[in-house]
């Protein structure tokens, strides 16, 4: 996977050379329709759960609680969204908690890995190999295993129940990937540019700021995008360190809402509204920034 990038997806797959003979052409024609049919069927199956969830979120309060469930809403209503808006501390609180943790995670990832990538790519550092392994420690030890000591540590630092604490854990999760992406991006910046700038009397920080930084913007977008998606969706760390209702993130409050069976059972309509709300930013960023998503995914996902 070493040389793969976003462009690999767009590269032309070898086209079939036309075979001769009527029979084989007929088989090929049939195959083409078969492949198209399978593609359409597959896409439908993959989309159905998402469509079902969005439709269910638009059912009226009574219809959302109907047994057996209806396939399509008889009438569209935003009741479920209204109930979600007012649920416990209110959707705005949970939404801004999730957003706050995600933005802090992006900020920390960039602040730490842009200089680190620059240092690793452009300087001779004694013991660089060992240093790189230490920086990638998070790949070797899964954060799920570190949460027990982290929780104790965060209680001592008074970082539990705080977005800052959650963002620190999310940054720790994302750091190895981000360092890897940033180092590769800085390595790809041509040396001639920097040398010319040094001749003109720029120091290393000025080289970073004026020469390298503009060239690594795509990598910074990739790092930010992945930091956002990780933080926005993460459940376990939030579950562990956030135990005050008002500091819950979106996945946390939805999980809590699922369990609330005491008064009239789970509010399925509201749950689907919450799922829809939490999916929208991920889908929007995926569709808007697909190029950066694929670049990061193909270069870092399996390393």
């Amino acid at each position: 996977m070493s040389a793969s990038s976003g462009t690999a997806l767009a590269s032309a797959f070898p086209q079939r050379t036309p075979q001769t003979g009527f029979a084989s052409r007929l088989v090929q024609g049939r195959q083409k329709y078969l492949i198209s049919a399978v593609c359409v069927a597959l896409s439908t199956v993959m989309l159905l759960p998402l469509v079902a969830s969005v439709l269910a979120s638009l059912k009226s309060t009574q219809e959302a609680a109907a047994v057996p469930p209806t396939y399509f809403p008889h009438s569209l209503s935003i009741d479920s969204y209204e109930r979600l808006w007012n649920y416990q501390a209110g959707l705005p609180t949970y939404f801004s908690n999730s957003l706050g943790a995600a933005l802090l995670t992006i900020l920390f990832c960039l602040a730490l890995t842009v200089p680190a990538g620059y240092g690793l790519a452009k300087f001779r550092i004694p013991g660089k190999e060992a240093l790189f392994v230490v920086l990638l420690l998070g790949l070797i030890v899964p954060y799920q295993a570190l949460l027990t000591p982290m929780f104790f540590f965060f209680v001592q630092l008074n970082l539990h129940n705080s977005l800052l604490g959650l963002a620190i854990i999310h940054t720790a999760i994302q750091l190895p990937f981000s360092i890897y992406v940033m180092r590769n991006a800085f390595e790809a910046v041509p040396r001639e540019l920097e040398e010319a700038a040094i001749m003109d009397g720029c120091n290393s920080f000025e080289v970073l700021l004026h020469i390298c930084l503009p060239a690594v913007v795509p990598a910074m977008i990739t790092v930010s995008l992945f930091a956002f998606i990780t933080s926005w969706n993460e459940l376990l760390a939030a579950l562990v360190i956030m135990n005050k209702d008002s500091s819950f993130t979106l996945p946390l409050i939805l999980t809590a809402a699922r369990q609330q069976t005491s008064i009239g059972g789970t509010d399925w309509g509201m749950l689907q509204a919450g799922i829809t709300i939490s999916i929208i930013p991920c889908m929007a960023f995926y569709l808007l920034l697909q190029k950066y998503y694929m670049a990061g995914f193909l270069s870092g996902a399996v390393k």
Partner: protein, 291 residues
């Protein structure tokens, strides 16, 4: 490039990230080892117990139940994900509009949260309110709704497997497509001239030339499955009788609701050891691919 004192300048740029890793990854790692040797709770004073927590794990039936369940889940879902992911990659590898759209749609669930997708499938599989029972009854497969979660461990696991296959299928597919694109076109064309059929070309050319990617994706997938938590926490809550509590779930239960932090740390250390073996294999594989 930079000479003289520059090696310290380089170190200066790396220092913030290094400090972060030392404080928020290396220190907790050391702390975890320390905690695993103690009876440790937030309330009572900690007491040194040596290997006591590890012996406790060895004798804890729930430890083995969770480990066995996690391995079983991993062993079942990995081949499904790899084989169907590869077949879909073969199906959609050509860059034609319909296939590219299909690829994007298959990948879409990968970007949404595991929590959100688990809640979505929890609803779809719900006894009274779920569309899956409704569809199965309407097409006549079953006469009465099925209790998917909580009654039978195997049935619960299969329902979770369905939801996770939907969620992460695109992960392997996209990486396989990239690997298939990297296979030089001339080899396939030469084989075609020699009269090789499509499946012969797949078996003799595409599969061997993408084997490294298959191995890497398999390892990443195995690690992900061994660390499964969200889907079981949300969909089965470990029920029935903690038979569907995965290893991470067991760590969570012991460390947090039960507040047995020392025991939780020991379980974490054991899990970290298992994952380490997989990670080392993964790194060796990806290093070899550079040579």
């Amino acid at each position: 490039m930079h000479t003289g004192a520059s090696k310290y300048i380089g170190l200066l740029y790396v220092t913030p990230a290094l400090a972060f890793v030392l404080v928020f990854t290396a220190y907790p790692l050391g702390q975890m080892v320390w905690m695993s040797l103690h009876n440790w709770s937030l309330i009572a004073p900690k007491k040194y117990v040596g290997a006591g927590n590890f012996i406790k794990a060895w004798n804890d039936p729930q430890f083995w139940t969770s480990l066995e369940f996690t391995l079983k889940y991993t062993a079942l879902i990995t081949p499904i994900l790899m084989i169907s992911g590869y077949l879909i990659a073969l199906l959609t590898a050509e860059n034609r509009p319909l296939r590219q759209i299909t690829r994007s749609i298959v990948f879409a669930p990968v970007v949404i949260g595991l929590g959100a997708s688990s809640l979505l499938w929890y609803w779809l599989f719900s006894y009274d309110f779920g569309l899956i029972n409704r569809v199965l009854i309407d097409v006549g497969v079953i006469a009465k709704p099925i209790v998917w979660f909580g009654a039978d461990a195997d049935r619960s696991m299969w329902a979770v497997v369905v939801s996770i296959v939907w969620k992460v299928l695109g992960f392997g597919t996209i990486l396989f497509v990239a690997a298939i694109h990297a296979v030089p076109g001339e080899i396939g064309e030469a084989a075609m001239v020699d009269g090789a059929s499509y499946w012969q070309r797949v078996r003799l050319i595409t599969l061997p030339l993408t084997a490294k990617t298959i191995l890497l994706v398999t390892l990443v997938s195995v690690i992900g499955s061994l660390l499964a938590f969200d889907q079981f926490y949300i969909m089965t809550a470990g029920q029935p009788r903690n038979l569907t509590s995965t290893s991470v779930f067991l760590i969570y239960l012991n460390s947090f609701p039960y507040r047995k932090l020392g025991y939780g740390a020991a379980l974490s250390l054991i899990l970290a050891g298992v994952i380490l073996v997989c990670t080392v294999l993964q790194m060796l594989t990806s290093r070899r691919s550079h040579a």
